[in-house]
Amino acid sequence: MATVTITVNGKKRSAAIEDRTLLVQFLRETAGLTGTHVGCDTSQCGACVVHVDGKAVKSCTMLAAQADGAQVTTIEGLAQDGALHPVQAAFREHHGLQCGFCTPGMIMAAVDMINRYPAGLDEETIRKELDGNICRCTGYHNIVKAIKAASDTMRGMAQAAE
């Protein structure tokens, strides 16, 4: 057992947990945030992607203890003051989700992707970058469209802010 403290979506959470507890288990079971999903057991599907200290991480592949002291953002923490994040809005606008199971991971991966390409994204890059996220429903067509649109919107917002 170890006691870890993780700041999740701005709120400090401390708990004594078994050493083998994964970050995703900490989030789902200890913090009660079930938006982060588990779709596989081999770090392949990306349903579990969250941000740890600002970087996209597969939370099924990190021990909660490794995140001790870290800032974690989950899908539940993405919208600010009731306003959807542009990536969330774009997924809805472009029908980038069907069953919704891959969606939290997709959105968190997409936010990270857009942050890493401030100059913008083209379709080919988006498709390559999505390699770590599997969706069985959408065929990716509308996910790619949504990410491209969100990237364009966020670039516009960044330029307007300059």
């Binding site: 588990v38 809805r92 790619v144």
Partner: protein, 787 residues
């Protein structure tokens, strides 16, 4: 249509919870005192169980109970069943081998459950499951269907001699033989349809809670059809009578067929919750999903097509062996028979067809319906034959199809189906235009300059959706009727709840069903909520599969709406002192035609509930229900064109263009329909290029994780070009046909036909991996090299 009515691209109401992480899936549910189940699974494909020692496991930390098959049988829990009776051509019934939820005597596939541990945490349950000692005596295994039929093959079930489940036929054998006797040309092919794993992203899960005081069970589970689950759990597995069992399918993360069936794990959780006195939760990990979710396809077919001197098809002869795995899953028997062979006429006027299907047991995971269920297998046979036949007789593949299209409707095929409406030439033309077929030669030449082989392939598919007229399927062996139910409840303030027996697990029913109401009453979709997936709320329903929610589920809603509308009009006429026939509904109001008199919809609803002033003899309230039983299947059809470029040095195939032209009849929400097609196409392309459930000779599944089973990812597939044509289905009130499976049905042959077109050979099997394509290119070169 109005801003939110039929035909409008309404954004989805359900999205808000999914994009904010507020979806509620089975694994998100908890119950006080909940324990966790872990299953002990066979590591062998075929073995006798000599003993099971649970004592060490029972002493492990946190363990509540370790339960085995003997206890399950002792408590009277029934065997799993297949619910569709098929008779062999000699009249004998199919041979259903006994299937226990926890096996006690002989395991028949890797991953079969033999015991379950319930413990305080999932990790403790898993640790203890590893401590259960099972003494197995290994038996020889067989994994391939053709091998399983050979003399001396390991035998799986005493009920099924030679592992044969049934030997079934359809069509007129004599007429077909006569057609072949006078054929000018015969095309012959051996065609494999590879075994797939459905892989809904949400693994199967269950949370079962038993209430001792009420003798009542609640099951939250990942189901496409909670009412059918309750019926089967109650009537066949003896879990509890229906009124003592509530099944809830909350948000479900994809199904594709795999969540139709009632599996061992869900029923064991129910049973264990009573046995242990605590709620029991189980969530499959992905490897368990690979080993136990019903697989799809796995057909081996020999097909022959007879042409006359004008290149008209005069006969089709098909012999198929289908691998059903170790046990007969719930609807497994219907997939390679009535969902397969009845579609072998494709879009073509073929006067004589005969098909023989043998199904066999093997030491593999059970096989059942997966997106398309039988229809992809039929389409793959027909469309590869069409392409090959066209090449053999030197005709353009599009023109060969056009020449053989069915042109008048209704059209009775020689294999039961009566196609009600269609225009196959319209979708072929639309697809050729969108694919710029005329410009293909130029593109091919340009690709050749870059050292690439460019190919183009067609697939003109047909499918039967909207399953199905209850009486008809009953006469063919189905154990259930396949109607749908709906209830429309108008609340006193005019908001509306629609209860449906259909279940949404990605299809967007909360939006599209609400669009029907918006269209009818002119009220915003925000004032409508769709209730589904709970046997305590919805009286009964048959669920969602086979693209039936629109054609059957929505038709039931329309019938209920008709009744609500009629009553509302009566009330409005009474209140406005007008003739009932003069009342029209527009923009959320009931109006007296030709006057300025009107009442808002909510006021009529309120009047129905205050009941202060209703027509004489009218009951208060505004709530109506309906059952809709379809009169026929529906027949979506279309043409897909795939264009590929292949690198001859590596054999790697790139899809450079993919066009889908579909006729789905009436479309409620084009955005959602396009999404369904995108997803289906990707699954079909996955089958054609990437996916394969591969067993070694001993029966180990070599592809039991995402490291080994190649799922299509974003950079494996292109963006698609979609177009639609429309002929209305005359059989249901909205003219809908269904769109959920088309993409997965139509795309595999289009991809393979494009590849064979590019490399100049007709011989290649799915998945067309770079290695296989490279080898096919080398093999095609051989004769040339020898010259």
């Amino acid at each position: 249509m109005g801003a939110e009515g039929i035909g409008a691209r309404v954004l989805r109401k359900e999205d808000r919870r999914f994009i904010t992480g507020k979806g509620r899936y089975t694994d998100d549910m908890t119950a006080p005192g909940m324990g966790f189940a872990a299953f002990v699974r066979s590591p062998h494909a075929h073995a006798a169980i000599k003993s099971i020692d649970t004592s060490a496991a029972a002493d492990m930390p946190g363990v509540t109970a370790v339960l085995t098959g003997d206890q399950l049988v002792g408590d009277g829990v029934g065997n799993l069943i297949c619910g569709w009776m098929i008779h062999s051509k000699d009249g004998t019934p199919m041979k259903m081998g006994a299937w226990r939820a926890l096996e006690a005597e002989r395991v028949r596939h890797v991953g079969q459950a033999v015991a379950v541990v319930v413990a305080d945490t999932a990790a403790q349950a898993r640790d203890a499951a590893e401590a259960v000692m099972v003494d197995y005596e290994e038996l020889p295994a067989v994994v391939d269907a053709i091998d399983a039929m050979k003399e001396g093959a390991p035998q799986l079930h005493p009920e099924a001699e030679g592992n044969l489940i049934y030997d079934w036929e359809i069509g007129d054998e004599t007429a077909t033989n006569e057609a072949f006797a006078r054929a000018k040309h015969v095309t012959r092919m051996e065609i494999f349809n590879n075994r797939l794993v459905p892989n809904a992203m949400e693994p199967r899960a269950a949370l079962a809670a038993y209430d001792e005081a009420e003798e009542h069970y609640t099951l939250w589970t990942t189901s496409q059809n909670p009412h059918v689950a309750r019926l089967v759990l109650s009537a066949f597995y003896n879990i509890a009578p229906e009124h003592k069992l509530r099944v809830i399918a909350p948000d479900v993360g994809g199904g594709f067929g795999s969540k139709i069936y009632i599996y061992p794990e869900e029923m064991v959780c129910l049973w264990a919750s009573k046995r242990t006195g605590r709620p029991v939760k189980w969530v499959a990990d992905r490897t368990e999903a690979f080993l136990t979710d019903a697989h799809g396809r796995d057909h081996h077919t020999e097909a022959e097509m007879a042409l006359d001197e004008h290149n008209k098809i005069i006969g089709l002869r098909v012999k198929t062996v289908a691998n059903l795995g170790a046990y007969m899953s719930l609807f497994s028997s219907s997939v390679p028979t009535y969902l397969y062979a009845t579609l072998l006429s494709g879009q073509y006027d073929i006067p004589a067809i005969h098909c023989n299907v043998k199904t066999v047991y093997t030491n593999t995971t059970p096989v059942d319906a997966y997106r398309g269920a039988g229809r992809p297998e039929a389409t793959y046979v027909v469309e590869r034959m069409m392409e090959t036949a066209a090449r053999e007789v030197g005709m353009d593949p599009a023109e060969f199809r056009r020449k053989n299209f069915i042109r008048s409707f209704p059209h009775q095929t020689p294999v039961i189906m009566c196609y009600d409406a269609g225009d196959y030439e319209a979708s072929l033309d639309a697809a050729m235009k969108a694919a710029d077929y005329a410009g293909f030669g130029t593109r091919k030449a340009e690709a050749a300059k870059r050292g690439k082989l460019r190919g183009i392939g067609f697939s003109s598919y047909i499918e039967a959706c909207g399953i199905a007229p209850s009486q008809a399927v009953g006469s063919l062996g189905a154990g259930v009727g396949l109607w749908e139910s709906a209830e429309v409840r108008v609340n006193p303030v005019g908001t509306i709840e629609v209860l449906t027996g259909s279940h949404s697990h990605g299809q967007g029913h909360e939006t599209t069903f609400a669009q029907l109401i918006a269209d009818r009453f002119g009220v915003p979709t925000d004032s409508v909520s769709i209730v589904h997936g709970d046997t305590d709320k919805v009286q009964f329903g048959m669920g969602t599969y086979g693209s039936r929610s629109g054609a059957v589920g929505m038709s039931a809603v329309v019938k209920a709406l008709d009744k609500v509308e009629a009553k509302a009009k009566k009330i409005a006429a009474h209140l406005m002192e007008a003739a009932e026939g003069d009342i029209v509904i527009e923009g959320g109001e009931l109006k007296v035609a030709g006057t300025d008199k009107s009442l808002p919809f909510f006021q009529v609803a309120l009047a129905a509930y205050t009941a202060h002033n209703l027509p004489a003899g009218m009951e208060p309230g505004l709530k109506e229900g309906a059952f809709y039983d379809p009169t026929n299947f529906t027949f979506p059809a279309g043409t897909y064109v795939c264009e590929v470029e292949i690198d001859p040095d590596t054999g790697r195939t790139e899809i450079v263009n993919f066009v889908a032209a579909d006729d789905f009849g009436k479309i409620i929400n084009p955005m959602i329909v396009e999404g369904q097609v995108h997803g289906g196409l990707t699954q079909g392309i996955g089958q054609a290029l990437l996916e394969n459930a591969s067993y070694d000779e001993s029966g180990q599944l070599l592809t039991a994780s995402y490291m080994d089973y190649c799922m299509p990812r974003a950079d494996d597939v292109p963006s698609y070009k979609l177009t639609t044509t429309e002929t209305l289905c005359p059989g249901n009130p909205l003219g809908m046909k269904g769109c959920g499976e088309a993409g997965a049905i139509g795309s595999p042959p289009a991809v393979i036909n494009a590849i064979t077109n590019a490399i100049g050979t007709n011989e290649i099997d799915m998945p067309a991996t770079p290695e296989k394509v490279w080898r096919a290119i080398q093999a095609a070169k051989m004769p040339a090299a020898a010259e």
